[in-house]
């Protein structure tokens, strides 16, 4: 019965990180980090700058190789896969980078069709329909023929998001999706992420400093500190905790959020 339960649990976990460690030289960034993210769940990763939040995301997609540990995506240990098998997993996930990482030399249309052309056999009409559909979702239909250099920071994030979801991935990873944006745009992007997650039934891991964004999106959150998962819980549990570290960590965020709300 216990075995059956653990299998069911394993099946429900889209991402399972077991005792992952990563160091750069003598600087240990992740130290035996373990984390499970269930299907359809929005997991927020908090932490001070330099605590390894982005490193954790990059280890999940193997942009960085962990020094030890295991990372399972839908039951497959990605760290043992060959590049071809890894790419099959990557085709089913989306990654929104901090600066959106749009391809500078390509127009918005070319950016969006890039993964479609390479991994699917859509006709031109089907591809065009998909591009228009995702642009409609991020409310940027008019930007279709613009170059990335002609877009504002918020627009770039939206197009980056559109490019990530155009293949309808089951798992989305967000690296600071609202950093550098004004409070109104930040709120819009956060609401958009939640909306997309619901409509496409995605599982998400979101690295952020933005408490407002986390409050909108999160089902659950963890706080990384000194390479370990120091706290885990809902946003309310974490922000109302009496733990000195959490009080100190969130007090600054709460003040910032109140300022933002006043501005909005």
């Amino acid at each position: 019965m216990a075995v059956a339960n653990s299998i069911i649990l394993l099946m429900n976990n889209v991402v399972e990180i077991n005792k992952v460690s990563k160091a750069f030289g003598s600087h240990v960034v992740l130290d035996n980090v373990s984390l499970n993210v269930e299907e359809g769940e929005n997991m927020i990763v908090f932490g001070q700058s330099g605590t390894g939040k982005s490193v954790l995301l990059k280890c999940i997609v193997r942009l960085l190789e962990p020094d030890k540990g295991d990372i399972f995506i839908e039951g497959t240990n990605v760290l043992t896969l060959r590049i071809k098998e890894l790419n099959d997993i990557r085709k089913n996930l989306g990654f929104l980078f901090q600066g959106a990482a749009l391809y500078d030399s390509m127009s918005v249309r070319e950016n969006l069709e890039f993964p479609l052309i390479r991994h699917f056999t859509f006709t031109d009409a089907e591809r065009e329909e998909k591009i228009k559909s995702v642009l409609e979702k991020v409310s940027l239909e008019e930007a279709i023929d613009k170059m990335p250099s002609e877009l504002s920071g918020g627009m770039k994030k939206r197009i980056g998001l559109a490019r990530s979801i155009i293949t309808e991935p089951k798992l989305m990873l967000y690296d600071e999706p609202t950093t550098g944006l004004d409070p109104i745009t930040s709120k819009e992007i956060s609401s958009l992420i939640l909306e997309l997650q619901k409509s496409l039934k995605m599982t998400s891991i979101v690295v952020t400093h933005d408490l407002l964004c986390a409050e909108i999106i999160a089902d659950r959150a963890i706080v990384l500190n000194e390479g370990i998962v120091q706290h885990e819980g809902t946003i309310t549990e974490l922000t109302t905790s009496r733990d000195p570290f959490l009080r100190n960590f969130f007090s600054h965020e709460i003040v910032e959020e109140q300022n933002r709300r006043n501005n909005v």
Binding site: R90, K91, F95, G99, A101, Y103, P115
Partner: protein, 268 residues
Amino acid sequence: MKNSKTKVIKRNSIENRLTEFFIMIAGLWQFQLQFLKQVFVPPYEIDQIRKHMDELGIKTLPIVSVTGFIIGLVITMQMHPVMVRFGAEAFLPGAVGISIVRELAPVITALIFAGRVSSGIGAELGSMRVTEQIDAMEVSAVNPFKYLVITRVFATTFILPILTVYVIFIAFVGSFIAVLLVQNMSYAYFIDKVVSSVEFGDAIPGVLKTFVFGFIVGIVGTYKGYTATNGTEGVGKAATTAVVVSSLMILIFDMVLVKVTLWLWPTV
């Protein structure tokens, strides 16, 4: 005391530079091996290669045209009084032709190409690296090495010989104009003299070595850009060092290839 401190700092600086240099050579070697490992594996990205060849050709055509014309003109004007001094004025078109075909056009075109293209590739890929565009490509299950590196190296390797042949013809035009300034000669006679003087053993090695130069420009530019770090500062460094390293390597390989081509196609 102050002198010995300065000496230690200088020695450390030289040691650091030497270490950096050897690390770069090792990195470049590994990068080339990776190129050889992946070059025959599909997909071949033919459209991208064609696109880069078009872009690089159009980008460098004006500057190599001007350079080629000036090389032909200047070398002829320089050689004319010397040839007159030795009573060998009739050999002027032949001597100029051989100089252009064997050495001047391939090397100068390659150096101009390195300055224009290697820095451009270094800056472009460097900027893609520091803004995580290369990571984004990798995460979307596309091999960025094949898509960005191999396509560009192929394009530089095959476009440079074409540009060199073009520069040779433009240099002949420049040379003919210079000849006209100093003596009366028809273009047909000039070309006849050049063609009768320039042999197979002069033309083929001159053009063949530009494949090597083109490869150098591509591999150094992509290596510097692909491995760029430290934000915008790293991008600038990638662009400038790409030019310096590729130009230096072109000259070193030219020295080696002269020996090899003379052995393969002896002129005497």
